[in-house]
Symmetry: C2
Subunit: 165 residues, 2 copies
């Protein structure tokens, strides 16, 4: 039923998914930040703009959820983006608790300005890493699969402790 992917005896850091993800993320992040060093927003903030345009997030909490980001951090990020004039906040009329977010012209522009650079950088890295299209597709697929499983797993209140019912 359940597969033993890892065994305590032969467990090494270099083969551990947690470690690999941490490293890959760190390297990818610093790789991406190189592009954004010359701009007034960060990679994460750019992703937020992208999410807004994609319509995946209309409010701050949407952004929190779809980006695995903290509430407070999102508030401050939006402050930043609003100062720069890339997004607008407007209290909803229907529900005055929520703040509707909207990408401004400048935000759209910033997004489009950076899009080709990000894409180029990603392609560059994948080529340099010697990926084939099939491998790339497979990696994307598997990461999505893992992500879905992780999200489900983390949604459980106290996994593997007192849930023997």
């Amino acid at each position: 039923m359940s597969t033993m992917f890892y065994d305590p005896a032969g467990f090494t850091s270099r083969t551990s998914l947690g470690y690999l993800l941490k490293m890959a993320h760190a390297q990818m992040h610093s790789c991406a930040e190189r592009i954004f060093a010359q701009h007034d927003i960060s990679f994460v903030q750019w992703i937020a703009l992208l999410k807004l345009r994609e319509g995946q997030a209309l409010t701050a909490s949407d952004l929190c959820r779809s980006m695995c980001h903290d509430n407070g951090a999102v508030t401050r990020m939006l402050d930043h983006l609003e100062e720069r004039g890339y997004v607008e906040r407007r209290r909803s009329r229907q529900d005055r608790r929520v703040v509707e977010l909207r990408l401004t012209e400048a935000g759209e522009h910033k997004l489009d300005e950076l899009l080709p650079q990000v894409v180029a950088r990603l392609n560059e890295v994948l080529n340099a890493s010697g990926f084939s299209e099939a491998e790339f597709a497979e990696l994307t697929h598997l990461l999505n699969k893992l992500l879905t499983g992780l999200q489900a797993h983390n949604a459980l209140p106290e996994p593997g402790i007192g849930d023997s019912t």
Copy 2:
């Protein structure tokens, strides 16, 4: 020669490797931290102990490199681990700049105490995500491949800007 993995036109956050890695890492991290919440060290610190025992890191700079971690952060992490009595620092006699790190008995014990829990949690998540052994092996392989490429890419001084020579 170079493959176009991404195209500016059809680029979405949910298919972007940067985004996927960020999300997967965040979820994996919070998943792992659940185990460590009841202990006096964090997941990252545990990895450091593991690296020490594996012999992959004998000094602080070794740890920095092999964990993609900041110099200062490692110093403070070692302060923490030393306070807890899990590692010992000793100035090298050969080169008095370097600090030799050594896992203490307590450190070994802590490592062994947590190892099965970490392994179990990883297996749990992978099973819940519906991974086959082959898929798991493939994911590990592809992540390693990407990581190697990223490290090489990031080692370059100013990639893709002024290096037309």
